[in-house]
Subunit: 328 residues, 2 copies
């Protein structure tokens, strides 16, 4: 550590159902260290937060950084949250965490300011500050996983939504009579453009005797087909696989057009596991979005792949902590 960096570090934490990611960020936006521990959600929040604080201290020690060089910590988890009070209100992936005063526990344990935010919003903030949305003050970030999450940055600030849960672009209806969604409705973006949606379309194709290469890659068993199988088959030239990814991409494009017509962002960042299929998804999505959105809103809009990968949430949390203490 040289002198200019002293006291200029922030930490970022992303609490997921499976693991807790932790990063240390210096004042130039470089990740100086990162680690990961099991969430072990069954054992409850107190035990997990205790282990998190230990992990954070040993991460500092391992790099020869003193505790007092850490200025603040940002922490993200799935909402709904009570951001003002630093409390998890509902936690579908973290049973028993409801009502946990995360901010209070960590502030007391680490003796630094701690800021809680929605994980999808923090990933968007990370991409805005250090990733694919750099240089853009208004960023929509969509994450294509089993579901579709989203974060929104307006004028350089996180749009937390009225309930602090952020927006749920995955559950915008884009096709009112369309496929059934996990939420119970028809035609949600998530039901038509997520990794689960791609897998479902591929399983249907295999059962109908289409998607020969998809079927081969899955050893002839439709149950083993997932979004990755479809991507691999597309790379090997399976026309049905290409078509499934294009269909998901076009649906994604409708969802992006809707977000453009509401927020008029400069940059739309698309990340998540399904984006491993890259241009098979993103090119049709771009085409559909730019064709559908209002022309007044599409001038100068970029629709680009995410850059920060699975660390986006933790990196965004560290950026956000730095952003917040400047305003303290």
């Amino acid at each position: 550590m040289n002198n200019t960096e002293k006291g200029k570090l922030t930490a970022g934490v992303d609490i997921g159902g499976t693991d807790i990611k932790l990063v240390l960020l210096d004042n130039r936006g470089e990740v100086v260290a990162q680690s990961k521990i099991d969430t072990d959600a069954r054992r409850g929040p107190d035990q997990a937060l205790e282990r998190l604080m230990e992990a954070e201290k040993s991460l500092l020690t391992s790099r020869g950084i003193k505790q007092q060089d850490l200025r603040a910590l940002g922490i993200g988890t799935a909402g709904p949250l009570d951001i003002a009070r630093g409390i998890v209100v509902q936690a579908p992936n973290l049973p028993g965490w409801e009502g946990t005063p995360i901010t209070e526990i960590l502030t007391r344990g680490l003796e630094i300011p701690v800021f809680l935010e929605n994980d999808a919003n923090l990933a968007a903030f990370g991409e805005h500050r250090l990733g694919a949305g750099q240089g853009s003050d208004s960023v929509i970030c969509l994450t294509l996983g089993t579901g579709i999450g989203g974060g929104i940055i307006i004028d350089g600030e996180i749009f937390s939504g009225v309930l602090g849960a952020g927006a749920e672009p995955g559950h915008i209806t884009i096709d009112k009579g369309g496929a059934i969604c996990a939420c119970g409705n028809r035609g949600c973006l998530e039901a038509m453009a997520s990794a689960a949606a791609v897998a479902r379309m591929a399983v249907d194709a295999v059962k109908e005797g289409r998607g020969k290469i998809i079927s081969e890659l899955a050893g002839g068993s439709a149950d083993k087909v997932d979004a990755e199988t479809v991507h691999k088959a597309a790379l090997k030239g399976d026309a049905d696989a290409v078509q499934i990814l294009e269909k998901a991409g076009r649906s994604l494009g409708v969802g992006i057009a809707n977000m453009i017509n509401i927020f008029a962002p400069r940059t739309v960042v698309v990340g998540g596991g399904l984006m491993k299929a890259g241009h098979f998804i993103l090119e049709p999505a771009k085409e559909e979005a730019l064709r559908r959105a209002l022309k007044a809103f599409t001038q100068g809009v970029s629709i680009v792949p995410a850059m920060l990968g699975s660390s986006a949430g933790a990196i965004g949390a560290a950026c956000y902590a730095g952003h917040k203490i400047k305003g303290l």
Copy 2:
């Protein structure tokens, strides 16, 4: 005028393609006077703004109010606007107004602070402060006319959007293969739940030999069918008319659900000419919206008819001027 009201008046102006509405609001939120002049858009902005200032002065004089009792003026027009500079950027209904520094001209002429905003946002602000959204900090306002406009209030503030054009909820895709919209796309909310959409469905019905009462009311001429004809036919018990309004209402409900899933508002206010058809539209809309939106977001949401009618924009502009000068 008693003493407490002196210097506590604000003016609100709503510039439309046909007329310019003007209201004076006292500090208790009462409209003390209002008037209307022709926009006479062909003759350009300078002439119209000159006549507006004269109208404002004679409105004051007619009520025995001194110019110095007026504290500020809010003014609304269709976007996109450059709000910071007080300039109209694009003006589809006001040819020749592009680039007009409205705020500067009026500030110089009236010698009071002037605030420009998007007209749909000001209507929403009016409903939030003095109409159907009173007591709610977060309000979505949808206006069902020939098209569908919208305004968004978050935490008591107007959400202007990145380009100052506000959001365009009328052009959210809710049915990607649905009816063709004036914007060129398919399945926009506007193409399925506006007065024009209702008229189109009714014309189709009449041409197919359905909607007997609609046809009678239009004197057998499908060209004369408009949304009002459909409403009148519904009141007379025409089952096809009722079904058309219900269909539009259900589409509206999908759009409302989308806005709820993005903004989690407390109140959704629905106004505009088509709302003369009241419960024929609003009841199916409510049912569909509450069924579709995420349960975490619908608790305590009210979906209600607008209260301020066609003056909502001007009243909202006057409220907004009062709101802004408190922050000056």
